[in-house]
Symmetry: C2
Subunit: 297 residues, 2 copies
């Protein structure tokens, strides 16, 4: 297929890379010219402008930060949109924005698909998990691209516009709680009754046969194996908006979310105070899986 990728950060670059490797024709644009040039090595065709990209493609995949930037980019695309074109938003947009955008675009006969994307930087090689919303026939027309981008069995059609981003939002809320849960346990082992436990070996044995084995556990083992100097690691945990949105959604739907509430509260506390061993571990895990830099002290 012929696809235009706009936004070539960590996730956009991975999309362009995987689509090229799967034999699709990829046209690529980023405001940062260096990033546009970098994907040439995979065989993608660099574009100097959105105009050039739109002349070549009728399927556009956005991988840009959520919020106003998505609207800005869509605004730039409007002059070039034609009946039957398809735009995919692969970022972490708020589902309410997605519903609004899909209505606007569908009113001019342009298809809009929301694609929640999980997997972090290692998804570039292993493939991602894709949660996809929008019209089902449009979803079906893109299956070749989802195959290229996803891990085996790693994509599914969720439902109407916004539902892909909605499920990804809740996924992120779960992720916040999982990260804090592992980190809390390791903090207790670090400061507990038995001194100088080998946390790396413990993380490893938890990965082999135990009830709590997981991908986060694998990263935990790797983070600990690097022997972090806890004294000097900044303990503030950054975040995007998806955790807070999930919390709001819980309130709106009258669903208790105590685990997420605590995970968010400790992130906020960590940024004010510099945190503790558990928040330092979460910050290191976020860096490891998502490439999120540690916050300045």
């Amino acid at each position: 297929m012929n696809i235009g990728c706009i936004g070539l950060g960590k996730m956009g670059e991975a999309l362009a890379y995987r689509a090229c490797m799967a034999g699709h024709t990829v046209w690529a644009f980023d405001e940062d010219e260096k990033k546009t040039k970098a994907v040439m090595q995979h065989g993608a065709k660099p574009c100097n402008s959105i105009e050039q990209l739109m002349a070549e493609c009728s399927i556009i995949w956005l991988m840009v930060p959520a919020g106003k930037i998505v609207d800005d980019v869509l605004h730039q695309l409007y002059p070039y949109l034609e009946d039957g074109m398809t735009i995919v938003d692969g970022g972490n947009s708020n589902y309410k924005d997605t519903i609004r955008r899909s209505e606007e675009l569908e009113s001019i006969n342009v298809n809009f698909i929301d694609c929640g994307t999980s997997g972090g930087v290692s998804g570039r090689e292993k493939g991602f998990s894709l949660m996809i919303g929008g019209k089902e026939e449009v979803y079906k027309s893109l299956i070749g691209l989802f195959h290229a981008f996803a891990a085996p069995n790693g994509f599914c059609y969720i439902g109407p516009s916004g539902s892909g981003h909605y499920v990804k939002m809740v996924h992120n809320g779960v992720e916040y709680a999982l990260l804090q849960s592992y980190a809390e346990g390791m903090h207790l082992l670090h400061d507990g009754y038995f001194k100088d436990l080998n946390l790396t070996e413990i993380a490893q044995v938890w990965q082999n046969g135990s009830a709590i084995r997981s991908w986060i556990g694998e990263l935990l083992q790797e983070v600990l194996a690097a022997k972090p100097d806890f004294e000097n690691i900044p303990g503030g945990i950054g975040e995007n908006s998806t955790g807070a949105w999930t919390q709001e959604e819980g309130k709106e739907r009258n669903v208790k979310t105590p685990m997420l509430d605590e995970a968010l509260a400790i992130r906020s506390w960590s940024r004010e105070t510099g945190g503790n061993i558990s928040t330092k571990l979460v910050a290191l895990l976020r860096k490891r899986f998502g490439g999120h830099q540690l916050l300045e002290k």
Copy 2:
């Protein structure tokens, strides 16, 4: 090696089975004669009494419920104990009890090893994760048995007596928080903005490429695929003592455990009120991985 297994419940039976399969000679005893007879099919040698078992073995592996029962069984073993014998406690004993028992037994030249065991009922085929405390030279003498019982790379020496049970206790605290975190997310998807989402497919796509893929996630998918009738499932979540012990330990060591605190609080609330979708899911997950029966309504 020649080993005596006392306690042939779900975990003890799995121990006897795996030790037999690995070619060890297994002498087995349970107060329930049916259970003793059942392990004969694996090639284990049934014993009618502790006296008979103790005449055959110098290594005894206990798989009995934590607490007074462990002391009662040890009391029954005392008349037959001889210099250099080894007792392994594979259950969820409190580490303080383990330290006391190891001191008592080592004062009469009997070795005592604590072996925290994770993996649930499916560990019988896949092998378990073992967290092992006690004297290192005694640990080394038992490595052949640990290999038989553990998943590949699924055992490690933690440290002095009690440390194996300590790490298993904290592991369980993490597990409580993880279970509740997944269940909370699914509850929100069940009752959220989008109606009738296919939760089984969502759980599946989260298992393939996403940041939150895990063994608990695999079980979640299985539990949801069975189309639970949430209306009629009792929502109280049972527990053993390890979660509460971990919480106490956090207080004693001045380590915050907000995630575990919430997971315990909602379990307690679930038993009083009948819970909600999230607690019903946790109850189903516990049944699926540990064979824990649902609580009566």
